[in-house]
């Protein structure tokens, strides 16, 4: 006695169908993961609070980029490769020099009262500066902060900054806050 089976669905063309789908996804999608340098823009200033806060000259690290993509850092012509060391020296001011930023005692969670330098980096570029150069400078400055943070976390918790807990990261961020101020660009070199 033969039982009437439901006929099996032929699976021979399954591979072809799957290949077709695969090729469609290969063509129609991209694999790019978006990454880049994160920055926060300052909000537009209110009309009535025009008064600038006075910041002492020793606390400001002036970085200028001209339209020929040359760097002037603290009145010195520098190469892009030297910028990071110079910035690190300025931000940390480990030797408490008179010419580098002054420090203020701040209570930080986990660290207790700590001397935090009142550093500000002022970045100004020309309208004719190349974007590539601008990103390179931003990258070097970010690297200076990141390396200082890493060095401190290695010394304190023997871990890199990225591997710290959220509270620890915040403490290190308070110790080395990233303060990059960008002033309105000038148009000296022409377009």
């Amino acid at each position: 006695m033969s039982r009437r089976d439901v006929p099996e669905i032929p699976s021979g063309s399954m591979a072809d169908i799957a290949f077709m789908l695969l090729i469609f996804f290969l063509v129609a999608t991209t694999m790019s993961t978006d990454s880049g340098i994160m920055r926060k823009l300052p909000p537009i200033a209110e009309q009535d609070q025009q008064d600038d806060i006075e910041i002492k000259e020793r606390n400001v690290f002036v970085v200028l980029i001209n339209s020929n993509n040359q760097l002037l850092v603290e009145n010195q012509i520098l190469n892009i490769k030297q910028l990071k060391e110079k910035a690190k020296e300025f931000i940390a001011n480990k030797a408490n020099l008179e010419t580098l930023p002054e420090k203020k005692q701040v209570d930080i969670d986990l660290l207790g009262p700590t001397m935090v330098s009142k550093q500000v980096i002022s970045l100004q570029n020309d309208r004719g500066t190349k974007y590539e150069m601008y990103i390179a400078v931003q990258n070097e400055l970010t690297k200076a902060y990141n390396e200082l943070r890493d060095e401190f976390s290695m010394g304190k918790w023997s871990k890199k900054y990225d591997n710290l807990s959220t509270e620890q990261q915040e403490a290190v961020r308070n110790l080395y806050p990233m303060r990059i101020s960008e002033s309105e660009p000038k148009n000296i070199g022409g377009k």
């Binding site: 290969l26 991209t30 340098i37 909000p43 974007y131 990258n139 660009p185």
Partner: protein, 157 residues
């Protein structure tokens, strides 16, 4: 029956293709998961600058893109070779950015609005003038979280 057996034993047995659909499906799922849809065709040519200190953008749905670069060959006759701004699928000017940001923001969830990020995809040979204008426009539109899109550079060490 004996004849049949004799014949097959002489020739090479065929490689089994029964698992081929499984293999292909596996590949298919890999690509479906790891890639994302191409959302807009590029009207401008962009070579991103390189940087080492980069962060990944976590939530792609919160990102709106501003592309800046010289128009591609097909559009150079109409738009010239000077860097232009591309928003979504069309060329735009700095004045259009405000409109673009507010429409992007309206499309978002109420909770996500403060997290909104604007990714600037700018060609590396662009002059800073246009980038600064865009940044000012973004400030006016109060889209303050920005991300300078770059590619990873390991050699720069």
């Amino acid at each position: 029956m004996a004849k049949f057996v004799k014949n097959t034993s002489k020739s090479q047995p065929a490689i089994s293709t029964a698992s081929l659909p499984d293999i292909v499906f596996m590949l298919l799922f890999f690509f479906m998961v790891s890639t994302s849809m191409r959302d807009s065709s590029m009207l401008v040519k962009i070579t991103l600058p390189k940087a080492s200190e980069i962060k990944k953008i976590e939530k792609k749905s919160l990102v709106s893109y501003v592309n800046v670069g010289p128009p591609t060959k097909a559009f150079q006759k109409i738009h010239g070779t000077e860097p232009k701004i591309q928003l979504n699928d069309q060329f735009a000017t700095v004045e259009d950015i405000r409109q673009f940001i507010s429409s992007e923001r309206d499309a978002m969830n109420e909770n996500d609005k403060p997290q909104m990020t604007t990714s600037l995809k700018v060609d590396r040979d662009t002059k800073m003038g246009i980038v600064t204008d865009i940044k000012q426009a973004l400030r006016k539109a109060s889209a303050l979280k920005i991300n300078y899109s770059t590619t990873k550079d390991v050699v720069l060490e």
